[in-house]
Amino acid sequence: MDAEPSVASRAVAVGSRRRPERLPGEARRIGYLYIAPAFILYAAFNLLPLGQGVNTSFYDWDGITPGTWVGLHNYTGFFTDPAIRSGYVHVLILMVFYAFLPIVLGLFLAALLSRIRIRGLTFFRMLLFLPLVITDVVTAVAWTWVYDTHGPLNTVMNAVGLGHFIPSQGWLGDFNTALPAVGVFGLWGSFGFCLILFLAGVMKIPASLYEAARVDGANAVREFFAVTLPGLRYELQVVLVLSVIGTLDTFDEIYVLTYGGPGTATTVPAYLVWRRAFQSGEVGSAAALGITLMLIIFAVTYAINRLMERGAEP
């Protein structure tokens, strides 16, 4: 650290308006040193591959022989390739189970439960959290048992006389039921998280708001829409973003439960990426798929945030 006599310290720090101000004696570059290790790793294994992925997506490549340039052809697959289209359709359907239903149910239950003081909340939280915390592969395996021919679901259905609805190839093997079956798995997984988050949010809403509403003559339903829902706006935003992105990203359970089958009934974009990159040698297409997925996630996140923030102005 220098200590120059500062007759010249009439330093009206030239350009200090542009640079962030430096404190006396502070080493200028040190911030970079602290960032560097993380950034180097991140740039090498996240940013660089991103760029490479974009590059790869412009080629038709099987991963072994040299690829051929096809420009944006792989991207048009979004519109023309039935596998990709159905992949996104599946994800949209899954969103009902992974996002929409858990949120609605979570909101409803949180509103109901908020009226009482819950003892042992920590314990319940722990139980509700388990589906989220335990490895996806493990929970998926658990559900293969649930859907098993002699598993609990079928046992119950047989018991209540609905046995004839059970598909002959099993829930995960039937073309019509496979996707909803995965969906129910997702619902089960997300629901606990939604409930916990909404419960926590509801408890932060000041009781005085509810009292004011009650004095104004609101019944329970009106209370919900006038006080509870707005009060949970932030949590809603978070859950929406997380669950929607989570759905777009779904891979683990597809691999374990159905391998994308039967046929392509449960193929989702993430699974398609893997399959095309590592099984069917359509590497360029896989890269494009990945990039597209990312762009969609960006767009959705942005849209949700904008929507929710705009709703903040009454």
């Binding site: 911030g31 790793l41 139980l127 683990d252």
Partner: protein
């Protein structure tokens, strides 16, 4: 809270119990299933106890599924990845929180980007890159990739934690003559201990649960989840055996969760600020 009737309260508790029950039913059921006699066609119905508790399934699953190996791999990966990721996040989070340097905003946003870049977007080029540097099918690949994937969140988290320190604390340290390094390790890290613990726990969970990366990069010495997936694929009809394997894989994370559940809650509830 207004006075609610006893019935209402009871109904609510019943509802809560029901919902919690649904949450854990598949898991409990799996444990139960694992105790059934091994073999195809011996599927537990979920409503009856097995004739006897076949603990032997666990031994078989462990041996046949090669879990000794996959557990070791998972543990090694976590043991290296978690400290590395946390330390890197601490360093960078500290830099962002306390230092002023050109482009710090841009760099930070670059990291935030990493929170929404899905693995699928980079998996393809990563595969070829990793192969090019000769690390394909090694645990190192997995470690490096997991760390680089985790730092985005870690930096976000630690920066927030350090920002919550009163500025006067840092100023007092400056006046006391502490270098930035000493200030970090002797003052800021002790201050942020709860946040660091939460980050460590969450990072461990992410590492243990990681499947997609393991699938692509460590085929010959798989991690525990990958091992389970293969095992389950090979013995699909032997529910009892597969369930035993699933329970085995679930135990470490379950223990961590029970011991550190407060940190988990804190992490997931507040960390969900990333949206």
């Amino acid at each position: 809270m207004t006075t609610t009737s006893r019935t209402q309260v009871t109904m609510n508790y019943l509802l809560l119990i029901f919902v919690s029950g649904v949450a854990i039913y598949p898991l409990v059921g799996t444990v139960l299933a694992s105790l059934y006699p091994s073999g195809a066609g011996n599927s537990p119905t979920g409503f009856a106890l097995p004739s006897g508790f076949h603990w032997g399934n666990y031994v078989t699953a462990w041996k046949v599924g090669g879990f000794a190996g996959s557990f070791t791999t998972s543990i090694i990966v976590a043991a290296v990845m978690v400290p590395a990721s946390v330390v890197l996040s601490i360093l960078a989070g500290y830099g962002f929180a306390t230092m002023r340097f050109r482009g710090s905003k841009v760099l930070f946003y670059l990291f935030i980007l990493g929170l929404i870049i899905p693995t699928e977007a980079t998996i393809v080029p990563l595969f070829y890159d990793v192969r090019a540097i000769g690390l394909l099918d090694t645990t190192w690949a997995l470690i490096l990739l997991e760390v680089s994937g985790e730092v985005a969140f870690g930096i976000f988290w630690m920066r927030a934690a350090f920002l919550s320190a009163p500025p006067s604390l840092l100023e007092a340290a400056r006046i006391d003559g502490a270098s930035s390094w000493k200030t970090l390790w002797k003052i800021m890290v002790p201050f942020a201990r709860p946040a660091i613990l939460t980050l460590t726990v969450l990072t461990f969970a992410d590492s243990w649960n990681e499947f997609f990366l393991a699938l692509v990069f460590t085929i010959s010495h798989p991690t525990a989840p990958f091992g389970l997936a293969s095992f389950s694929g090979r013995y699909t009809t032997n529910i009892a055996l597969v369930s035993a394997a699933a329970v085995i894989v679930a135990i470490p994370i379950l223990i961590v969760f029970i011991v550190f559940q407060r940190e988990f809650m804190r992490g997931v509830l507040t960390g969900a600020v990333k949206g």
